[in-house]
Subunit: 381 residues, 2 copies
């Protein structure tokens, strides 16, 4: 296979876009990415979206967006993997361009969560859980995360406060990101007293569903070098899966697909964990970040929470450098592409107040469900 | 890129499987394909599905199916392109294996239409139309097909009876296919008197929504030659798109994406139309077959219906050789993969009573919406 690089990125602000539909948000990101790359067309458009059908009553999004973005006629289809839809779309685009069949591909993630609100949206979001064994009993994603968090706290004798710095860090970084949804700071000590959503998962522990769209443009590294001054290479790409239902797992606290996916991506890139300058995790809930750090090999089992003091922009392992899902917001099917856009800005040195110094290697990880789908990419300058 | 071949196929009967869920149907097809290929594992599973979320309240299908099929852990995600989801999944699998990153991939299509019935399903199915400009006004896919058919009949002065042989042919072939949903014959003359669904589209003109799953296994042609006696090569693959809403098109009766997609696939395969031994069209409505024949270059504009007497198993251009969508049935997201399975059986000479003599080249075409997504593949023995 040939080497792949990202030559353009685009994003909309993340938030509640009551005045914009799915196609409008998407077209904004498409145009921004084309402008960033300095090109006017691509050969294919791969769309990551998770909830267009259940929330916006709109599937078959890919040709709709292609047409609305001025790309009518091109190859296009949608990729779905629940909350990992963005990462999976990036994987699909990576494979397409790697094949040599597709020369230049746009990978877009888009979600419009606010087309539905309240308990209706909670129900709509639950279609990505196991319908026959989880959703039917009223399980929701926050509720399942709460089960894991309680088990983790019990098994390792850990207090709620151990998790707070993940949220404090996310909001500290998101506060500097003009595209972030919630830019307020979280004060030390307030995490443990936040309103409960699903005990022990609180409001300060749960990423907000949001609207947004983000896009990256991929082409061969060879062609990229002719087109843009700072192509960012994708040097590793790994995808893995696990059961949907938690009760089907041997060990609740081991995110197997994180282990498999991370190993594949790092092995392909030929890098050790020490070489990673920043890590964009799927921090929908702090327990997911902690368990992912352990499963990905950055910490021993039961010790992931101890990394909380090393994740700042100037720490050993910066995480959620633009605010992560928690502060930047979680436009579900777009989130994996926001991670890619943010990593590219870091590796170009264009991250402004969110810049990680001398960032040369970034790892981004897109997670669907409770790590039922995990897609990991290594990006390098 | 390297050449790709199909080394295994599997399918469930198409019909109303009230006793089987999405995951059960899917696992049956996965197991059948593995057995057919004589292997026990694959590196990736790509799932085509259109209506899991709106009809079965189940998205995030790919890891669910992988796990239920004994493939827990592997790379997997879902591809959606409305009625072309199966063809799009085949395209995604083709690109993945062509890249060399994935050695062996299973491409599965699955749909469970009967999890919802009556007008509820009609509404759920409409999420793939333009939500803001078509579905909101009550448009359905049969209604849009009816608009095209009426316009076609008016513009070219054609009677309803001109379309009947497409249905008669489909049922004649489907009657010999033990996996077909409706195996009854349609008598000449009865087409024009069938109960209307959306005038002039009648019951005998409209393919039935169905349950079913089908799978194909892809690997490099080089590896395929070592594994199975009769690998079937994919020599052409083309994808294209058009507007979702009909009012956005310059010409209602030109299926632009069919033209683009067919041209790409035939050019890549390096074949002329005369070399095609059988053609599996998306015959959800006879007007779609007629317009596709014209857009794909088999007939002049307004003359596609004249091919109706050449489409039998022993005709110049056999169509719907196992019954097509109309008689075999339309398990929506699986239909594009049923086409692939049937083409492989034809090219292997294993089509039994449905065999097209000396079939060496097959073209299959998967269509989403009114040709908003079109994916065409050329398969050769």
């Amino acid at each position: 296979m040939r080497e792949i690089a990202i030559i353009g990125v685009g994003q909309t602000p993340v938030g509640e876009h009551w005045d914009a539909s799915l196609r409008m948000l998407a077209a904004d990101a498409v145009r921004a990415a084309l402008e960033d790359a300095g090109i006017t067309e691509v050969d294919a458009l791969y769309v990551g979206n998770a909830y267009g059908a259940p929330i916006s009553s709109q599937s078959h999004l890919a040709p709709l967006i292609a047409d609305h973005s001025g790309l009518n006629g091109i190859e296009t289809f949608t990729i779905e993997a629940a909350e990992a839809s963005g990462g999976a779309a990036l994987r699909a685009g990576y494979l397409a361009v790697a094949s040599g069949v597709v020369e230049t591909a746009m990978v877009l993630g888009v979600e419009k969560s606010t087309d539905m609100i309240g308990t209706a949206r909670t129900g709509a979001r639950s279609v990505s859980l196991d319908a026959d064994y989880e959703a039917v009993h009223g399980a929701t994603l926050p509720a399942l995360a709460a089960l894991l968090m309680r088990r983790y706290m019990s098994e390792f004798g850990i207090e709620l406060s151990a998790f707070e710095n993940f949220t404090i860090n996310a909001h500290a970084n998101g506060g500097k990101n003009e595209n972030a949804m919630y830019r307020n700071r979280i004060k030390p000590g307030s995490f443990a007293h936040a309103p409960m959503i699903a005990d022990p998962v609180s409001l300060f522990d749960s990423a907000p569903d949001a609207d947004g769209a983000a896009a990256v443009i991929l082409t061969s590294a060879e062609r990229a070098a002719d087109l843009v001054p700072q192509p960012i290479r994708i040097t590793g790409s790994g995808a893995a899966s696990d059961t949907l239902a938690l009760h089907d797992r041997d060990d609740l606290l081991t995110l197997k697909a994180v282990t498999l996916s991370t190993r594949k991506a790092l092995t392909q890139a030929g890098i050790e964990r020490e070489a990673i300058d920043l890590l964009e995790l799927h921090d929908a809930f702090t327990i997911l970040s902690v368990l992912a750090l352990e499963a990905a090999g950055f910490a021993e089992r039961g010790a992931g929470w101890k990394l909380a003091d090393q994740i700042g922009l100037d720490g050993e392992l910066p995480i959620s450098t633009f605010g992560g899902l928690k502060s930047r917001g979680n436009p579900v099917g777009a989130t994996g592409i926001y991670q890619a856009v943010e990593a590219v800005l870091q590796l170009r040195g264009q991250a402004g107040a969110n810049q990680v110094a001398d960032a040369k290697t970034a790892v981004i990880q897109s997670v669907g469900g409770i790590a039922s789908t995990v897609i990991t990419h290594v990006l390098q300058s």
